[in-house]
Symmetry: C2
Subunit: 434 residues, 2 copies
């Protein structure tokens, strides 16, 4: 067919963007099926589209509570959309092709390289396989451990389903739950086991498959790790710690709650405390964490930890008139430029989105709108509670912002231009940005 | 003296910073003198310090109304502080040295170069003279035209004083008034003459002395202007126009009001409408305008129009994979980096300041705190009205932020490091940043 030929000749970025859009649309259809929706519940298409986007973009913002709205089949669809979104449409496609024994052609390899933020095409198929294996192992262990918690509340079959859903949701940093009542994990705020399991899944899911593989290959020895892995791990640790301390300073929560919310804000989006009771300074801390987000090549969003690191190094270098260094490597010259571009595009999306939301919903305060839009952009899913009451315009806006956030603002900005040659991803000093 | 010797050996940035701090302290003392304060009014030192900082940093945020608090002598001191702040401590110092017929030595020339954001030391003395002359001409004409307005309300002597003060305040983009009642220019919101005169003074004061001189030299012919002048004039025009249109979209104000507030937000800080009645989207537009601010080498603050332009060019270049151009010149490679550094430092100051203000004054909403802090950083002086009721901590914070905003965040960041060689100001393509 002519259309298919034309599609095949498109640059990778466009094909990936189209793939995500297609999965979102199919997902919204699946969630609208009568067998997906509980008896007596009405779902408007805008909310199905919102939920599907939120799932595929692993955001977790909810206009309708998944536990109270969807049947087990609908929740299964939702879990599937989260898994596809978390792995990425391309990886899932490649996985299927590999699984049925077909060969991945050159075009396909290019797509995978672009989608997974890789620097070279070497060992690509092996990498895709390891991504699937990693996901399976983490989600399996996560589900088993979660089961020990949920079995106390539900009958075994339901507990198994809830555990599996929770593990998938947590590892993919999606923030969804099917516990009902719209309270997310608040009932479990003091359950140590569920706090630990969820945080573990979030952290490994958000650190990136490349780094997980490096950690396995290096058998956890710090010195053997690349600069990229060291940067990502250090920045994540510093952000988690400082976020927790700052939240503890202004909010009336336990230390476990402070750590959980600090970890969760950087893209996972689960909450164990009602955010609408947070102080505005506390929410501002969460907004900054949400904006920075997870690490590249992970299931998470935001401008990314490595981008944030390169920005800080650039500022330090400007203030001290010295070169940019990190762990005895020089930061590549081009990195600061790319990090800046990504951050400014992200700021533009967040500020513009906040403006438009407040114009379309005049009753919404700056703090709530900024929080909601940053959450959508960082594919976080936390909310001060305004989501269900937003106008259709603001919901469509959130859908667009989640989509931009999942694909990355730079990918979106370059969609209209066929870039000659590949854009630099991993440069000299080996650090992935965005 | 040993101390003086040591001081002389300091890099220009530190001497300038010290000079500003000294003038602020002296100013706060002058404003505390009994002869400066009206009978029956009590002024706390924190408010005198706040007012002096606000004047020297040409901000115009007021904790106490100048018209209701100070005597004509106090108001004269205030006007003097604004004039010194607007011209810059260095230029005033150089002006005095030149006026008494002394020679400016090499060290002094270096200081002037740094303070006035110049690219070379050529014609420095001539430039300082032209700066004084320009100021005198504009403020003289401004005062005469303002007099035709104020004579209808005050007796001639008072009208002359008010006119002179207003002209100085407007040309130096300070936003102060001595009309009393804390209503700034709201009583004159429909006075066409005062709107035009004030806008004219603000625009020329904010466009930079270099550009004014270029306009005179080129006899207003566009083609003869440098890239820097073209950029600054175009960006200012686009910002004024789009700001006015956006304000008109969400606020219930006249077109003249929309233009006045759009012009005034980019660092002048006069208001003809009560800002606390503005919608939040409207305030967000003002916040963005305040953050961008005026042009380099002017009396205004913010990250500067040229910085904003270079950022936009960098984003465009990244999205289209093309070089950065402007008016048939290539934008120098280093510009984007410097513009990014300045903008991130500015964002850090604004976000950090907003956080601290909300921690110290828990009752203040995000929208008001963000507005107040951006206003202080951009040395704008607009406020939603929270200034007088802020805690001492928040007032000290505002004082610090006004000071950082006036000197520029990059100057502050490099204060602790002696930079080897001069930092690049004007590079290849000739565009001044920050
Ligand atoms: K999420
Ligand atoms: K001002």
């Amino acid at each position: 067919m002519n259309l298919l030929q034309k599609l095949k000749r498109q640059p990778p970025g466009r094909i990936i963007a189209l793939g995500f859009a297609l999965v979102i649309l199919i997902g919204s259809g699946l969630l609208m099926l009568p067998c997906s929706i509980q008896d007596g519940v009405t779902v408007h298409y805008i909310d199905a589209l919102y939920t599907s986007t939120s799932a595929v973009c692993v955001t977790g913002l909810i206009a309708i509570d998944a536990g109270d709205t969807f049947t087990p089949l609908g929740q299964f669809f939702l879990g599937g959309l989260i898994q596809i979104g978390g792995l990425g449409v391309t990886a899932v496609g490649a996985g299927i092709i590999i699984a049925i024994g077909k060969k991945v052609n050159l075009k396909g390899r290019k797509l995978i390289k672009e989608a997974m933020n890789l620097d070279s095409g070497k060992g690509l198929i092996r990498f895709v396989k390891s991504v699937f294996l990693t996901t399976l192992v983490f989600e399996g262990i996560g589900a088993l451990l979660s089961f020990t918690v949920f079995i106390h509340r539900y009958h075994p079959l339901k507990a198994a389903g809830v555990s599996l859903f929770h593990s998938v949701a947590a590892f993919n940093n999606s923030g969804f739950d099917i516990l009902g009542g719209g309270t997310n994990l608040i009932p479990y705020q003091d359950n140590i086991m569920l706090n630990l399991v969820t945080c573990g899944l979030i952290v490994f899911g958000g650190i990136g498959f490349l780094v997980i593989r490096e950690l396995v290959d290096a058998r956890l020895r710090w010195k053997k790790l690349s600069m990229h892995a060291k940067v990502v791990i250090s920045v994540s640790a510093v952000l988690i710690l400082s976020g927790a301390v700052m939240l503890k300073l202004t909010e009336n929560i336990s230390w476990m709650g402070a750590f959980f919310n600090s970890i969760s804000a950087r893209t996972a989006g689960f909450s164990t405390y009602p955010l609408k009771e947070f102080t505005t300074p506390g929410l501002l801390v969460l907004i900054v964490l949400m904006f920075i987000g997870a690490s590249p090549g992970s299931t998470g969003g935001g401008i990314k930890t490595s981008t944030f690191f390169v920005l800080l190094q650039g500022l330090k270098s400007a203030a001290t008139n010295s070169g940019e260094k990190a762990f005895h490597y020089a930061v590549p010259k081009d990195s600061f430029r790319k990090a800046s571009v990504i951050t400014f595009l992200a700021l533009g999306v967040v500020i513009g989105g906040t403006y438009l939301m407040m114009v379309m919903d005049p009753g919404v305060a700056l703090r709530d709108a900024l929080f909601e839009v940053t959450s959508a952009f960082g594919t976080v899913g936390l909310s001060t509670g305004i989501t269900p009451d937003l106008s259709i315009g603001s919901k469509l806006l959130s859908i667009l912002i989640m989509y931009i956030g999942r694909l990355g603002p730079l990918t979106i900005a370059t969609l209209w231009h066929f870039s000659v040659g590949d854009r630099v991803r991993y440069s000299e000093g080996n650090i992935a940005i965005g």
